[in-house]
């Protein structure tokens, strides 16, 4: 199947390993991945910060870039949620009903990674190998906007060598919320503190999720604590095999602090 990658601006810029893992995984499963290079950002930050008018041009660009594809995938529940639920609303608000209906059409063909694998490609065992103790945080938008349900857990349970441990109060928000983390930094940090407490209680080596944004938040907090727990995107775990020499997620992601903690974790 020919699949267009909607990389998301965050994975493109800061977490390319989540995107390259998505490419490697889908190619390993026998599919052709296209990366339309005119894509940039879905505009969710603009919409959620109160700038829907500024987002119209980004919605128009996104729809133009991805309209030619039958199947689009993104390694993010939040960005897929934005495309599916916000793009038509932004277009309608701007009085462009034609754009709204084209956006709705693109939204129907756009899938979050676990949705694509389980619902469209019909696989739960993707042939991955990842010998680590892992806990999974269901991100709010994948959970409540997309309703991905247990698809990510079904994928993780089929990974060889992976020890999956349940995260207490998993469905509580980590406190990221886009610009919420900056505008309401203290409240966001209080939410993060509880999320980190639950992650640490699992004694997992790795905390995974389907969104690089929430992982950046959780990982940034864990790094500050020198907690010795890495955050790794779901795509990287599913792309990992016995043939990998570098452990996925091994890149020093969070500055000087994580170098110390990597040593502690080993």
């Amino acid at each position: 199947m020919r699949i267009a990658l909607f990389v998301t601006c965050l994975a493109d810029t800061l977490f390319p390993e989540a995107a390259t893992a998505t490419v490697r995984l889908l190619e390993r499963l026998g599919h052709q991945v296209d990366f339309p290079t005119d894509q940039t950002c879905c505009g969710q930050m603009h919409v959620n910060t109160g700038y829907p008018d500024e987002a119209v041009r980004l919605v128009r660009r996104h729809v133009r870039v991805f309209a030619p594809y039958d199947v689009v995938v993104a390694p993010s529940g939040s960005c897929v949620g934005s495309v599916r639920h916000q793009h038509p609303m932004v277009a309608r608000r701007a009085g462009d009903d034609a754009l709204a209906s084209r956006a709705a059409e693109v939204g129907r063909r756009t899938y979050e990674l676990s949705e694509l694998l389980v619902d469209v490609l019909g696989v739960t065992d993707v042939g991955a190998y990842y010998p680590h103790r892992v806990t999974y945080h269901p991100t709010c938008h994948s959970l409540r906007l997309l309703r991905v349900g247990d698809r990510p857990l079904r994928l993780l349970r089929a990974v060889r060598g992976l020890d999956l441990v349940e995260l207490p109060q998993a469905e509580q928000c980590c406190g990221f919320g886009g610009t919420f983390a900056v505008k309401n930094a203290d409240t966001s940090t209080a939410m993060l503190a509880d999320k980190m407490r639950h992650v640490l209680a699992t004694r997992a080596d790795v905390c995974t999720a389907g969104d690089a944004s929430c992982l950046m938040h959780i990982g940034g907090g864990l790094s500050r604590l020198r907690a010795g727990v890495r955050t790794v995107h779901l795509a990287e775990i599913l792309a990992a095999t016995e043939a990998d020499t570098d452990p996925p997620g091994g890149r020093d992601r969070t500055g000087p602090a994580s170098r110390d903690t990597a040593a502690v974790a080993r």
Partner: protein, 484 residues
């Protein structure tokens, strides 16, 4: 709605007014982030809230699970409310006619000032200098207690939690559990300090505290001739008003006095008697986690020789017509004040209700208060959410709170530097070559150090920034896949 009866519709000119400033309790004295910061530093408050919201959440979830048609009930609740809002003027006139026919008197109040004046004059006409109150959000919203006190009339709250708040010279912090921020040791201290004639040997056992309040209130019930209440529902076809409560103290106020004055937001009307069947199933399970509400009081005008012989209904607008005029925001008027959204909100659980600065805290408050006052007067509230969506899932009438929050953010006044940055970002992201250059610059910039400049230092105060990757994804793609 303004003016008397249906006249508002024919004389309507321009946008409906929002709730006036300087009266009532819809506006805080500081923005949410500042108020939240102080609340977050209170360890006792955090413990009280975590315990209380966690307990209610679990109890409510358990009894909701018992109802096989809960999704259908929610959909029915939403449909009835949407129908009500679509023909609100007609239903209110029907309600007025039915209440009047049953011997009650209906008053129309454009705003808090007018409502307070109407109630004060009604009390003064009875000659009473004290009123007892049934727990009511509408009267908290308009600041009725303050208005009555200014006129020399003493209001006595009879709901146990409202009494705790009143005796503690405090403010309510939850719609359903106004003293949720207090634990029993703190309540004991408040009673010892402020309750007349309290036993100095009072302990902090819940039953002992409740018995002390009971003794205190019983005298009030028997000696007070005027009561003021709110209403959970008003049935347009019959003129019946309904109050839903757990203690029976409301029932005392609604049956014992000679005069009963009810202040009700105009959105509380429902079309038919049968509609009560939907809401009386939804409300207790979503709010207190009870299968059935303990005390449901219903009254229709005056019943000669039984109960209050003077029955008044004050229909309050106070910004509601302005909310109704907003196609997206009007859903907030569907709220039945169950507080389920507060109990599941990760922000509310950590900051408590006072940080919102309004009698309506939590997610519903973050969409209702700014609409009632105009968004400019409560501009920080639509941002007091991570948009996690737990409130929408919990709402028994399916109010899409996250969408309203986002909608209101677009109406909020924006800081000039933020607006400029957002416009520049949108322009850059609409030009892929500029965007790629900005990505590389961002990567280089982060090598400079770990602390970001304001306003982004909110991030680095508690979280590290990820180190820049060796290359962006699109650079990797150009090297490894492009043209292959």
């Amino acid at each position: 709605m303004s003016g008397r009866g249906g006249a508002g519709r024919t004389t309507f000119l321009g946008m409906p007014a929002t709730a006036p400033p300087g009266v009532g309790n819809l506006r805080g004295t500081e923005p949410f982030p500042a108020a939240a910061r102080r609340a977050l530093g209170d360890a006792q408050l955090r413990r009280n809230l975590r315990h209380a919201t966690g307990t209610i959440r679990a109890k409510s979830a358990a009894v909701i699970d018992e109802v096989p048609d809960w999704p259908q009930l929610r959909a029915a609740g939403r449909a009835i409310k949407a129908d009500t809002m679509a023909r609100l003027p007609e239903l209110l006139e029907q309600l007025e006619a039915a209440v009047t026919a049953a011997g009650g008197t209906v008053h129309w109040a454009t705003d808090a000032v007018e409502a307070n004046r109407i109630v004060t004059e009604l009390v003064q006409a009875t000659g009473a200098d004290r009123v007892m109150k049934v727990k009511s959000m509408a009267t908290q919203e308009i600041g009725l207690n303050e208005a009555l006190e200014a006129a020399g009339i003493e209001p006595v709250e009879t709901d146990l939690a409202e009494l705790i708040v009143q005796l503690g010279d405090d403010r309510p912090s939850h719609i359903l559990v106004p003293a949720i921020h207090r634990n029993r040791a703190e309540i004991r201290e408040i009673f010892l300090r402020a309750m007349p004639g309290v036993d100095p040997a009072l302990t902090d056992e819940p039953a002992v505290l409740a018995a002390a309040a009971r003794r205190h209130l019983r005298e009030t019930f028997l000696a007070t001739r005027v009561a003021v209440s709110g209403a959970n529902f008003a049935v347009a076809e019959t003129g019946t008003l309904a109050v839903v409560e757990s203690e029976g103290n409301g029932r005392m106020c609604l049956t014992l006095p000679e005069t009963l004055i009810t202040v009700m937001g105009i959105e509380k009307v429902i079309p038919r008697w049968a509609d009560l069947g939907v809401f009386l199933q939804l409300l207790p399970r979503a709010s207190t986690g009870e299968r059935m509400n303990p005390y449901t009081s219903l009254w229709t005008g005056v019943t000669p020789g039984d109960g209050p012989q003077q029955v008044h209904l004050v229909l309050l607008d106070n910004g509601r017509s302005a909310v109704l005029a907003d196609e997206v925001g009007r859903q907030a008027l569907h709220c039945i004040r169950c507080s389920a959204c507060l109990n599941v909100c990760p922000v509310y659980e950590r900051t408590g209700g006072h940080a919102y600065g309004s009698v309506y805290p939590g997610p519903i408050g973050a969409v209702l208060s700014p609409q009632l006052t105009g968004v400019a007067d409560n501009a920080s509230l639509p941002y007091a959410s991570s948009l996690c969506g737990a409130c929408y899932d919990a709402c028994p009438v399916m109010i899409d709170i996250p969408s309203i929050l986002v909608h209101l953010r677009a109406q909020a006044p924006h800081p000039r530097t933020e607006a400029a940055a957002m416009a520049a970002a949108a322009y850059t992201m609409d030009h892929p070559a500029l965007y790629a250059a900005a990505q590389r610059a961002a990567g280089l910039g982060r090598l400079a150090g770990r602390a970001l400049p304001p306003p982004l230092n909110g991030w680095t105060a508690s979280r590290d920034m990820p180190a820049a990757p060796p290359q962006t994804f699109r650079q990797w793609w150009a090297e490894h896949r492009s043209g292959s």
